[in-house]
Amino acid sequence: MPHPPQSRSFGVLTPLVAGLVLAAFATLPFWAEKGLVFLAGIVLVQIVFALSFNLMFGLTGLVSFGQAAFFAAGAYASAWMARSAPGLPFILSIAFGAAVGAALSFLIGLVALRRASGIYFAILTLALGQLIYTVIGKTTALGREDGLIGIARPVLDFGLFRVDLATGDRYYFLLVVAAAIISGALWWVWHGSLGRILAAIRQEPERVRFLGVDVRRHRENAFLISGTMTALAGALMAPWSQIITPMIAHWSYSALPILFCLLGGSARFWGPAVGAIVFAGLEHGTRNMTGMAELVVGGALLLVVLAMPGGILGTLARLSGRLAREGAR
């Protein structure tokens, strides 16, 4: 098994560091330049994307290689809705994006989880994802290969007062709040009864089946939640980047959350978030050197997969465990 059955806990350190990271994200516009704020917004969306993906990958061990299809479904559906019905409240266009992602992940999960497992599940989801990528790139209402451009940042209408998210860094703060809420919800699912049943299925599918648990139903539920949350991340990104192209449905975009999970450590809830932040740092640091970004990211990834099987968090936990043992001696 790739994942340690019982991962060592960092204790009080986890909420402390998570709070510090959240504070850093929330105060970023006050001390960082504009380019970095934009990047941080993208990273926040990618954290939600990767945490949603890991609900499936980390807890069931199944690799969905078509996750970008749900991300794109959410982004395109919400942007299309906001454009077709300009007066519609922002929350409804976001909800529409999530609903389309939910419908799509329900269908794909129903089909893919019925027959395929392991490498076949990965390739089947890859094929279905590429199918959606091709359809988006050839659909005129979705802008074909050029995508949708000039997506407006919305105005929130609270009745008594209105908040125009197009001014300043307001949409960024909305992203911080939304990412925190969605991550909290995912944390609750991961540590709740569904998460624990899935973890049990991953270790002993036969034994869990004997206990009367419908294994496939639970995997389908996890796939549905994972796909819906991914679509929500996509719907949140569209007004931030203000342009979406079919590239967000491409298989290489589906590879991103897998990289984040393995880089940070897929056995822990916060692993993918760590992976997304480290990955963005690597890419940002090498952005001006042709070919260097791929060499550094590829090299780092290879090193982590070959030498640090638990990812960054798994390795840190092993090191801290060793330190604690030596301290006690």
């Binding site: 199918l131 091709t134 290489s252 070919g291 290879l302």
Partner: protein
């Protein structure tokens, strides 16, 4: 009627043989090592760039013989890279989860792309077919580029050579026995680690050969590696992963499905490949032929 069907069938077969050239090495490595090598397309791309550079730098390489010679040299060079990759990466991936080897080899694909970008730049490059393959033939009313016929012939030749090697020679049979049961093979005195290395080097050499042979067919760019690998994945999964005969059959089947689909539904070119892959995996998850053959 026939004049409409034949060009489409020809297009489908050219696509099929191009993808089979890429998929053959991929399925061979999976059959023996059970590693789905994401970087395979990256090494095909490196083979194509090497062929491009040698053809442009060295004078007098415009003939068909020189073209074939360069493709074989690319196969040797990429095969040597396979030796290094086997030592450094693949040996550490034994027994790990599929997703780990998928990501480790995806990292290798990124390294290939980075190497191509820093070596050749990110611009599109192109090379023309050698003299003698640049023209076209007329079969009745049918216009057939000679290079298209060459690609089909090359695909069939590589398939026949691989099939003969695996089924009719002693070393091929040893390879198959290791694929079936490495532990039993080692008890019979077969050096299993050496056989693994042979399979990896052969698979990488096939990637280099595919790159050299297919280089004139497309614009070379660092995205080439990722383009071919997805099609090759579909072909080897549909064929029965690890099965060379299955990959050949699947390439022909999917190539024809996609070519005819694109003619009848021109709004969504390329969509039928993915539809066919998804449907076949659903109803026959083990592929058309299973096991190593």
């Amino acid at each position: 009627m026939l004049s409409e069907v034949l060009p489409t069938a020809l297009n489908g077969l050219v696509w099929a043989m191009s993808v089979f050239l890429v998929a053959s090495g991929l399925t061979l490595i999976f059959g023996i090592l059970h590693i789905l090598n994401f970087s395979h397309g990256g090494f095909v791309m490196i083979g194509a760039y090497l062929a491009f550079t040698v053809t442009n730098r060295v004078p007098g390489t415009a003939s068909v013989a020189a073209f074939l010679g360069i493709a074989v040299a690319c196969a040797a060079a990429v095969g040597a890279m396979g030796l290094v990759v086997d030592r450094v990466v693949f040996r550490r991936l034994k027994g790990v989860d599929d997703s780990y080897s998928l990501v480790a080899t995806y990292a290798l694909l990124l390294l290939c792309e980075g190497a191509v970008k820093s070596g050749w730049g990110g611009n599109f490059l192109s090379m023309s077919p050698p003299e003698g393959l640049g023209g076209a033939l007329f079969v009745g009313d049918l216009f057939v580029p000679s290079y298209a016929l060459f690609v089909i012939a090359a695909g069939v030749a590589v398939y026949l050579a691989l099939d003969l090697w695996l089924h009719r020679t002693a070393s091929g049979r040893i390879l198959k026995s290791v694929a079936l049961d490495p532990w039993m093979a080692s008890l019979l005195g077969i050096n299993v680690t050496a056989i693994f290395t042979v399979a990896v080097v052969a698979g990488f050499a096939l990637a280099g050969l595919a790159g050299g042979l297919l280089a004139p067919n497309q614009s070379l760019s660092p995205a080439l590696g990722g383009t071919y690998i997805i099609q090759a994945f579909g072909v080897i999964i549909v064929g029965g992963i690890g099965n060379v005969r299955g990959a050949f059959l699947a390439a022909v089947l999917l190539g024809l499905v996609d070519a005819f689909g694109t003619v009848y539904v021109p709004e969504f070119p390329g969509i039928f490949f993915f539809v066919a892959v998804a449907v076949i995996i659903l109803f026959r998850p083990q592929g058309l032929l299973s096991g190593i053959r």
